[in-house]
Amino acid sequence: MHASGLTLTLAGRAIPLGPRAAGAAVVREVRSMPFGLRLWIGGLLAVLAVAAVAALVALPPGWKVFGTSPSFEWGLMIVGYVFFAIMTSGLCLASSLGTVFGIERFRPFEKRHAILAVLSLTTAFLIIALDLHYPVRMVFGAMLVPSPSSPMWWMGVFYGAYLVVLLVEVWSMFTDHPRIHQWACTIAACLAILAPATLGAVFGVLAAKPFWFGIFTPIMMVASAFLAGTALLGIVFYAVHRLRLADHARSASIALPAVRLLLAVGLVIVGALVIRQVVAGLTGTVPGHREATIALVTGPIAAEFWGLRVIAGIVAPALLLLMPMTRNPAGTLAASILALVGVFTDRYTFVTAGQIAPTTTHAGTVSYPYASYAPTLVEVSIFVGALAFLALAYTLAERYLDMGETDVHVGINWPWMRRHDAGQDQEGQDHEAAGDDDVGEDHDGPADLPAPDTSRAPGGPAVPVEVAAIAAGAGS
């Protein structure tokens, strides 16, 4: 037996598990971090500490720590769940263009999207677990007593399967199982439509809530998902480009222009759906539909709707993407952040507008003209903590996993993919990058560089993850 005791081999690093050795290793690791990274992680940990307190307060069932009431039962927690859940699907939708449909310029999304998708879905599940009063029952209840009449049950089925598929996707990617990876990506792309559409159906089947009711809710949910996922990729790839992380040259030359294109598509679709939503709502004849829409456009949530959702969330990013002077990585970052804020506001106003103009008395409470809901500090802390969780987990993944995209291979050439994809995608992408029209528009990025293979993170050697080996020091 060595004194070192247990070690865990992760991503090619031996991580000591003994308390003293682990403590020393953490200190050594923190010392090796640049100051900015230490500050960033420290800040995120502080936010998470606050959120942890809030989560503890939210745990006991029935405590009224949320701002919800019988007439306004779904609040910020549901908004947060929907936001992170659809973001997961958006990431898969964006990346499927490369992984499933074999379009070269969308290939750089693979590793980062998969990690982000897993983390985003985990975040969504964490939020909903804190919102539910009895989350453990949900898992067992949904499995033991299937309720196929409930859209929420199907949502659980699809998102549960989604998490499994995403985990397989990440595992196969980092352990180099290209065929399994290809299958996982393809199934994930299907679930990326199924899952948010079902989430839309959770709202869309409710005749009691005319603003939510209808076939356009799932459509809107999928479109929002696409926009949210693309916007998150924009933020991440800007950080990769700016901080010179793994594969940063390709990030600037291929990923960011691709994000710009996808964002523009998403904004156009979501913009059209918003126009439909308002027009259909104002001319609607179902009791409560018009009232809810009026609350949205001129009522208590009009400021959020017009200011954050329409102007900041759709018009401003569209202009940023359109104007020549902002067609650069910084402009794409700004457009991505604004679009993401827009999607969040979109989900917030959607959930709010659905309940704000009640068509009935709720448990003896008459809410006229509008039901009131304001998120409490606990809810806000949990939501901000969820954002911090996603950011922290992704930061750690970016630092300790090999995020270079060049070693991801096409496992199976689906019939619609170009043949040279398999095994030689690197050459293909270099060629693509050099001949790409968009490259020249990246004024402040290293866009004109050919995508080199040397763009590794300064910190880490590229070693495939082997999560398998837990070695007990010696002996046995």
């Binding site: 069932p61 989350p135 029952r137 949900m138 299937p146 009449s149 049950w153 009691a208 409470t365």
Partner: protein, 322 residues
């Protein structure tokens, strides 16, 4: 070193775990350029195939074990109702009570309701409903139409203390009243109920006699049934002083005092109503008064446009003609 494996079965052949971390030098080389058509010599691919198929077998085996466990647990749950216990509202059914023979029906006569609020008091007492404002299984609302044709609805504290002489709805003060009536409300026990349809875990369900119950052991507190109910009859029970049967954080609503009606008693609100505006009975019993009222006075459904087919029916001034 070999420890006994729990539930061996499909997992057992996948045991050689040390094979999983493929040698990074040798194995991935063939994997790197797999020919989709399969023209690479087999012996070149052999190590990769061995590694991949081993891990795949392990993965499939794991999946099969999980799926098998779930199916097995589901079958077991059919025979051994793990959820049923004293909190199950269906369990207080007395031996003599046969829900299959009953068609409970509730009729509210708004013409005679005086808005005294005794029904709300009785319900809270009988069912240990919290005193916190905003949570009640039944309530009375006053629907007032002023001379300018506007409808005002008010229900101070669910009407538990009765009503002041003028509507407390915002904007109604000082306006001359054209018509006004009280409308007692409770769970409609809909025949096609949105709440039971949307419940993701089957915690709320329709008993054979038509009453919709909530299984406190299954409910997860997601609130879906609450946003789905067009009548606002449900709420999540807040924590606080409760008596028997109410679990904080789960969906709660009127169940027509199920513990009373299955022993031949009337719901508490019906029993206490001083003017008889709440009527309750078994529509399957041809001799009952409820059947006579159903035949002679043709009571109406509230909000029929939702297609929920409520089992609570209304006589007297309706919502529209108020």
């Amino acid at each position: 070193m070999s420890e006994p494996r729990i539930g061996g079965g499909p997992m057992a052949p996948a045991d050689p775990a040390p094979v999983v971390p493929v040698d990074p030098v040798e194995a991935p080389a063939p994997v790197e350029a797999p020919d989709p058509v399969g023209l690479v010599p087999l012996d070149e691919l052999a190590p990769a195939i061995a590694a991949v198929s081993t891990s795949r077998r392990a993965f499939l085996g794991f999946g099969l074990a999980v799926a098998g466990g779930m199916v097995g647990a589901g079958v077991l749950a059919r025979f051994f109702p793990v959820f049923a216990d004293e909190l199950d509202p269906a369990s207080p059914i007395v031996k003599a009570y046969d829900p299959g023979t009953r068609q409970w029906t509730f009729i509210v006569d708004t013409a005679s309701c005086i808005g005294c609020g005794l029904c709300v008091v009785a319900c809270k007492e009988e069912n240990h409903v919290t005193d916190k404002p905003g949570y009640t299984r039944t309530w009375v609302e006053r629907r007032t139409v002023t001379t300018d044709g506007t409808l005002y609805v008010d229900s101070p504290d669910g009407g538990i203390d009765g009503f002041p002489s003028h509507s407390t709805a915002p904007g109604a003060a000082g306006k001359a009243v054209r018509a006004s009536h009280f409308q007692p409300r409770l769970c409609m026990q809909c025949a096609t109920s949105p709440c039971t349809t949307v419940c993701p875990v089957g915690a709320t369900y329709t008993a054979e006699d038509g009453v919709i119950l909530v299984d406190a052991r299954r409910c997860i507190g997601c609130g879906y049934c609450i946003v789905a109910c067009p009548y606002g009859a449900r709420y999540l029970a807040p924590a606080g002083e409760h008596g028997g049967g109410i679990t904080p954080g789960i969906a709660d609503k009127c169940n027509w005092c199920y513990h009373r009606i299955n022993q031949g008693q009337l719901p508490a609100c019906v029993e206490i109503c001083p003017v008889g505006s709440r009527k309750f009975g078994d529509a399957a019993d041809e001799t009952s008064e409820i059947v006579r009222v159903l035949r002679e006075r043709n009571p109406q459904m509230l909000y029929p446009e939702y297609g929920t087919r409520p089992r609570v029916l209304y006589l007297g001034p309706s919502v529209e003609e108020a």
